[in-house]
């Protein structure tokens, strides 16, 4: 039985983890490699690293970091943030990233999805979609939800699947940061709309939220940041809980 995946997400700025991390037993909680190891050991199924640096040297720093992470951990990881060309993808994959995630660049240049998929295969193309529900319509947003587009979430999801995306990472801007649970209705509809795996993101606050997104939201994986970073939810405990709810997880 294919299991549901639990994916901690790390925000990276200039090679360091940001957005607050609160591990008491880590020597350097800002070091993404240390954190990655910690999550791997506690049973994370995959990791996502989102680079939010804006400096000129960002690419070199990121590539260096990807190499270190790939050397240190033995589970798959995705790298996203600022990827806008096949060359960007090339260097990240060559240095050990398993998948790359594209967001705004895919909206601006949808053909990028086709190019990456045909060169490296769909399995490494994650298309991240941020959407906000406005008057019953789920609209795609860019720049972390700040910029609205005219794209409807479900139309865009269908298009990225057709263009060769291997997976969709859907973040609901309505739920993100609320800790009130994932956008399960939209997630379930996404699963009916496309036939590629869906990662739920935005809103995780309790273990019950994870169970709900797998059952009601039909999600294939669930991603969260702060609940893991601040140790509000421990992965081993979460997986035991999910198993008690008859959800298949890797323990």
């Amino acid at each position: 039985m294919l299991t549901k995946r639990i994916i901690p997400c790390l925000d990276i700025k200039n090679g360091r983890t940001v957005k607050g991390v609160n591990f008491v037993d880590l020597k350097d909680a800002g070091d993404p490699v240390e954190l990655a190891k910690k999550y791997t050991e506690t049973g994370a199924d995959e990791l996502v690293f989102l680079d939010i640096s804006a400096t000129e040297e960002r690419r070199t720093t990121l590539v260096d970091l990807v190499r270190k992470i790939a050397g240190a951990i033995n589970i798959p990881f995705t790298v996203g943030g600022g990827i806008s060309s096949v060359e960007d993808v090339d260097i990240l994959l060559k240095n050990g990233a398993d998948k790359i995630s594209i967001n705004s660049s895919a909206v601006k240049n949808p053909n990028l999805i086709n190019e990456i998929a045909s060169k490296y295969g769909s399995q490494c193309v994650v298309v991240a979609i941020d959407a906000k529900q406005i008057e019953n319509n789920w609209m795609v947003h860019l720049v972390g939800g700040k910029v609205a587009t005219k794209l409807n979430l479900f139309d865009w999801a269908k298009e990225v699947e057709q263009r060769g995306a291997g997976e969709i990472l859907f973040t609901s801007m309505n739920n993100d940061g609320t800790k009130n649970g994932f956008a399960n209705q939209a997630l379930a509809k996404l699963s009916e709309t496309v036939n590629i795996p869906i990662i739920a993101s935005g809103g995780a606050g309790s273990m019950q939220h994870f169970a709900a997104t797998f059952i009601d939201g039909k999600a294939d994986a669930a991603l969260a940041a702060s609940v893991f970073h601040f140790q509000e939810i421990e992965i081993p405990e979460l997986k035991q809980f999910l198993r008690s709810k008859k959800i298949d997880v890797r323990i």
Partner: protein
């Protein structure tokens, strides 16, 4: 020990190199016939599209070389699929080492299968120390059916071959280099295989 990793421009061979490093071995990424022939172990990795990959292998003359190799060789993911008779992906003819066709999952399930799934019916020294129903990381849209050469199976839509073996040729559909400590154990077992067939 000399470990050759076949270089035909397939994506992400770095993970395999890193996994070997964690086990204390240094792999050589190469497309050189002599390097490959004289290696103690050969790893045939692969992600991407079958037709393109097969063309690259043929262009480099590697498609002719691989079936003649005498040392233990391990195909991973697409590498394993290309060792089969044929694959539906791009209607590609394979290397014909394993007598099985590679076909696509239907849309009754999400395609690709992506994530951790169990391997069972383990029947090979490759799985020494690995328990039945161990989890492995898989990403694939096509699969090899269950056959005489199956040495492990997995269930997704149907029970299929998640590992194959014929003489010195081994193939795994999952990614041992990305499957935690159990995956590393499988790689270690492969490196310990003898050439006595």
């Amino acid at each position: 020990m000399k470990i050759a990793i076949i270089d035909y421009g397939a994506g992400n061979v770095q993970s395999v190199l890193f996994a070997l490093e964690r086990l204390g071995f240094q792999g050589i990424l190469t497309d050189d016939w002599n390097e490959i022939k004289t290696a103690d172990k050969v790893i045939f990795p692969g992600v991407g599209e079958a037709g393109t990959a097969m063309k690259k292998l043929s262009d480099k003359g590697l498609a002719a070389l691989i079936p003649t190799l005498k040392q233990p060789i391990l195909g991973i993911c697409l590498g394993m699929q290309l060792m089969c008779k044929s694959t539906q992906e791009g209607n590609t003819k394979g290397l014909g080492i394993f007598n099985v066709e590679v076909i696509k999952f239907t849309n009754q399930v999400k395609v690709p299968q992506m994530g951790w799934n169990m391997i069972y019916n383990l029947q090979s020294p490759l799985f020494e120390g690995i328990q039945e129903e161990e989890f492995m990381y898989l990403v694939h849209s096509f699969y090899a059916s269950k056959c005489d050469e199956s040495i492990a199976t997995t269930n997704y839509e149907t029970e299929y071959s998640s590992a194959l073996q014929k003489n010195n040729f081994y193939g795994v559909q999952f990614h041992p280099e990305k499957s935690g400590t159990a995956g590393e154990q499988i790689l270690k077992n492969f490196l310990q295989l003898t050439t006595d067939y």
